[in-house]
Subunit: 338 residues, 2 copies
């Protein structure tokens, strides 16, 4: 049984193929009677619309792309669900390019996206190295939105958060508790702007409080619990170990919590640990994790809307939406124990 096309439906209904197309896209332009005939014919021949052909004709793929390092993080899952929720009422589907932290892969995927004529691209994560590629993509006319951050480069549309301020707030909170030696377990700040912004926020809070910045208690890790655990072990083994550790993601913090336990330290009595993201397991950590709530789901929805808006306005004006974050105080931080 071959797949039927609009011509087959048209023949069956005794109308032209253009009319069938109209019934699909602009039924209001078609006389109700004709419309019914066509609908019946579609049913009879078992017609299935061919999106690929339509996309080709329109010169636009009805798809939105997502560029992301990894989907292995609840916070990214929230973003994806937000995107999908917002896409649901449209004709768009989501294509995912998952670079698994590899720069070359990422570059390849960006190229594939260009070839696919996407109607928009959401960038969840990218390395600094690939920014030029993104720019090329954008200049070729693809609406592009960066998430998780407000990029310093004003040419990029952003739906993000203020990483600097969020990290600043958390650090300030720890300082307010009385901590003066605060370790940081961060992501790769050499290659990722968003991570660097958090590092800067941490730094500024320290500076304001007149606390010297000490590179010895800063570590750079991939965001997994295992890496967090290793980083924490390292910090705890230090001569002058920190009294509080700010992990720049909850996954890292979870590992840090475990390392503290193994080291015989009670959290928060002997050491404070805080996270970033507020993923679903954060309230269930032992003790419940003090962290920064990031509106991942909302960000996904807004990013899609930003792209849709660009279609309507035809690219008028930059979009720079900064979503609020929130310090969530639970049980993993307390005043230092002297």
């Amino acid at each position: 049984m071959d797949r039927k096309n609009m011509r087959d439906v048209a023949a069956r209904a005794g109308v032209s193929q253009a009319t069938v197309s109209r019934v699909v896209h602009s039924p209001h332009l078609v006389k109700p009677n004709t419309r019914q005939k066509v609908a019946a014919a579609m049913e009879e021949v078992g017609y299935v619309y061919n999106t690929v052909a339509a996309d080709f004709t329109r010169q636009k793929n009805s798809m939105i792309g997502l560029i992301i390092f990894t989907v292995r993080s609840s916070i990214h899952s929230e973003l994806i669900e937000g995107i999908q929720e917002e896409l649901e009422s449209t004709r768009f589907s989501l294509v995912i390019a998952n670079s698994r932290y590899d720069e070359a892969t990422e570059r390849k995927l960006i190229q594939l996206f260009r070839e696919r004529n996407l109607s928009g691209v959401i960038v969840a994560e990218t390395t600094d190295e690939n920014r030029p590629e993104l720019k090329t993509l954008q200049e070729s006319g693809v609406p592009l939105v960066l998430t998780w951050q407000m990029a310093a480069d004003p040419d990029f549309d952003c739906v993000g958060i203020d990483n600097h301020r969020s990290a600043y707030d958390m650090t300030k909170y720890l300082i307010g508790l009385g901590h003066e030696r605060i370790g940081l377990i961060a992501g790769n700040f050499d290659r990722i702007e968003r991570v660097r912004q958090r590092l800067e926020g941490y730094r500024r809070a320290l500076e304001e409080a007149g606390i010297a910045f000490d590179p010895a208690i800063i570590t750079r890790r991939e965001p997994s619990p295992m890496e967090g655990k290793m980083a924490m072990s390292q910090l705890l083994a230090l001569q002058r170990r920190p009294t509080a550790v700010f992990a720049a993601s909850d996954a890292l913090a979870l590992g840090a919590l475990a390392a503290s336990g193994e080291y015989g330290l009670r959290v928060p009595d002997d050491i404070s640990v805080s996270g970033f993201d507020d993923v679903d397991f954060a309230p269930f950590c032992v003790p419940p994790l003090t962290t920064v709530r990031v509106p991942g789901y909302e960000m996904g929805k807004r990013a899609v809307r930003a792209i849709l808006d660009q279609h309507e306005w035809n690219g008028h004006g930059p979009i720079r939406l900064c979503l609020p974050t929130e310090l969530v105080i639970r049980g993993s931080c307390a005043a230092p124990n002297r």
Copy 2:
């Protein structure tokens, strides 16, 4: 600056458009000299291949679809990363249809996938209700692979695990520890075959041990820590409460752990808790979670290979690959405390 096509490149290189196409797809058919001329011309005009046009011409979209309830679970993330890893060396991209547990949404997404002419579809999760839609999709010639389970229906290709046996093993382990009253926090077994298989495995282990099956200690929940916590509270409030609780996912188990703590019960001394999946946070739970290791990443890779194989063989023979699971014993289960 308009986007250039193969005709533009051909004009520049002084060859026919067909030759340009050959340089892209079958360079070995083209004389090296010509090949270079064409490559240079591509560079000069800034040519970007148009995948949409190619897909249209070939009557096949160079994309693989993934049908999934939610991406909010590490185990699904592993699957997705496995899929992407395997797709990386091909020209295929991944489109995700995320139904967020809604049956109607799922049906709509399956329809969209049909219209997209995908080269294959991986089903991570689906409700029983939508099986007929999947069958239609498959019958329309799309290679389709079910994951996470071996479907009872032999018409479906599967790359999954033995849920029945895995749940049986875990239950038997708990019985071996001396438990006779074992609660179960499961997913929606009315609508999801895979969940039902786990329930059956649990049941059979009980039966074999001569322990009566008690519906009072079976709960049905969505797989989130919060739901797990609520389910556990409910079980603990029972007159004759269980001495062990088997949560059919680690997310549920995490919540169960928290509920136990709030109830003043120590795990595993006062109550045993076990999970399923072995996600990244499982070893970092307090205590570390005893669970079932599921090879999500491997499953993703194999599912892609199964689809690619079907392309090559042109649909010869069913694929039924059952991947091994493994009981991972950590610290959350012990003999009952009498």
